[in-house]
Structures are given as C-alpha cells and as structure tokens.
Symmetry: D2
Subunit: 96 residues, 4 copies
Amino acid sequence: MAAPRTLSEPEIAAGLATLPGWTLRNGKLHKTFQFADFVEAFGFMTRVALAAEAMGHHPEWFNVWNTVTVDLVTHESNGITERDLMLARKMEALAG
Amino acid sequence: MAAPRTLSEPEIAAGLATLPGWTLRNGKLHKTFQFADFVEAFGFMTRVALAAEAMGHHPEWFNVWNTVTVDLVTHESNGITERDLMLARKMEALAG
Amino acid sequence: MAAPRTLSEPEIAAGLATLPGWTLRNGKLHKTFQFADFVEAFGFMTRVALAAEAMGHHPEWFNVWNTVTVDLVTHESNGITERDLMLARKMEALAG
Amino acid sequence: MAAPRTLSEPEIAAGLATLPGWTLRNGKLHKTFQFADFVEAFGFMTRVALAAEAMGHHPEWFNVWNTVTVDLVTHESNGITERDLMLARKMEALAG
C-alpha cells in the first residue's frame, strides 16, 4: 500500500475547523482529553485502540490518571494525511 | 478474609429494586447489556474489568458482538452477597 | 460482502487437526483457555478483541476469573467458515 | 491515607539494581518496553492498567505502535516512593 499523500495547510485547517479542541502542534494533530478518572480514561483508550487497529492507523498518546494526550501523524508519509483526520474524528465519536 | 455472608431473599429483592433490568436467575444477579457495537461493548467490559479487579470481585460474563450478559454470585460464599450488589451498581454506573 | 461459504465436515476436521484443544461442539469451534489469574485472562481477551475487530469477525466468549471459553461460528453463514478457523488460529497465537 | 515517604537516593539505587532496563530520569523511574506490534503493546498496557487500578497507583506512560515508555513517580509525595518500585516490579512481571 502506497503511503497516503500529505495534506496541504488549507486542507489541515479545514479539517481542524470541524474538530473541537484539536490543534496543529509540532506538525501533528493534537488534543488533550480529560475524563472523570483512570477507569474512564483507559476505557476510552481501549475503544480507540480497537478502532485504530481496525484502521491500521495508530495514535501517539500519553496517559496519566484521567488525562489522555494525543498526537496524530502519518509516519510513512512524514506528515499529516487524511488518515489522521479520520482517526481524530473517530476519537471524537468515541470520547462522547 | 472470611467469605462474606449470603443475603436473604428480602435483602436481594430490596437490592434488585434499585437496579433496573437486573433479575434473579439461577441464584445469581443477572442482566443483559446491549451496546451500539463491539467497540462499545468491549469498552464497557474493560471499564468493568478495571473496577472488578480493584474490588477483588469478578463477574461471570458472556459477550457476543454488541451484547454483554452478566451473572453475579460470590463463589466462596456459595450465594449472593453484598459484593454482588456492589458490582451490579458499579456496572450500572459504568454502562451509563 | 457476501456471506462466506460454510465448510464441509472434512474441511472442519482438517482445520481442527492443527488446533490443539479445539473441538466441534454444538456446530461451533470450541475451546476453554485457562490463565494464571483474571489479569492474564482479560489481557488475552483484549489482544483477541483487537484482532477480532480488525478482522471484522468476533467470538462468542464467556469469562469467569482466569477462564475464557470460546465458541466460534459465522452467524451470517449459519455455520463454520474459514473465518472461524482464522480467528481460532489467531487466538492460539495470542494465547502463547 | 497519608502520602508515602519519598525514598532516599541509596534506596532508589538499590531498587533499580533489581529492575533490568529501568533508570532514574527527571526524578522518575523510567523504562521503554518494546513489543512485537500494537496488539501486544496494548495487551501489556491493559494488564498493567488492571494491576495499577487495583494498587491505586498509576503510571505516566506514552505509547506509539509497539513501544510503551513509562515514568513512575508518586505525585502526592512529590518524589519516588515504594509504590513506584512496586509498580515497576509488577510491570516487569506482566511484560514477561
């Protein structure tokens, strides 16, 4: 499978406009999610893990207690691609 | 740690009265949970697993796709105890 | 996607011959896995859940404490198909 | 529950001596775990999550694909305590 093409700055900006709380940071799609406690935070991570494995596209993420910080980038494309927007949208749906 | 005492029929009935959808079946607290899909069902199972391990009290449960069927009993007491009511209440909170 | 064809009895028998501990039971591929404790059992279930979601094919499974009992069948085909053998092989690899 | 006391430098050094691959970094117990793939990495994280929730002591951890990077510190004690050594030992056992 060929590496997907990287998105242009306007394409990224258009994508971020529909993703509340997401920003562009160090060339990655970035968001910090807060939950009630560790159980809720890890439950979210498990739902995302299942979706990510099915997509074949995985996050960079950091967790401590009730907080999950996410950075999305497509390593094989060396930039942000449509896959990152798809995973960000999926995370929004799963965090709800 | 001594095995907790089994609850009387009136105590079980009083407990079930506050647990929507739970019934007494084959001497166990019983409920079937339905979710949107497997991701949501397994996310629920993970949240419950974390809570159950912390309580030191685990469910009997069956999953297929979006359905999780639960039976709660305290094996070392050979009956239903306060621990089962606590885990049922926790599951209700985590399914919400 | 069309429902996959069901396997013949010789095909199922040939598949089971390479799957230690698996049997045919009530028209499903059946095995009981035993682990050291709940943490190991649920860790196995999580690995399988990730693989199953990626395959788009999910088990029927029952867990209590350190035991995971699995039944595999392809509901839309109303029988056992190659997908069930694939998931059984995957479970063997993930239980190792 | 009172915050546990912080360990002295010799106590930390003695603890690290029995924990292969762990180092002291930025005042935290630090290790990077590598697994075969995301499924194995997230399976490890789930086993650790169950143990951590039961201990009431949680890691700071970062995951990308097959890599899990861990930093352990006791926030309420503002330093490394026996709890961090216990969680590190538990992680070693669960990674095995």
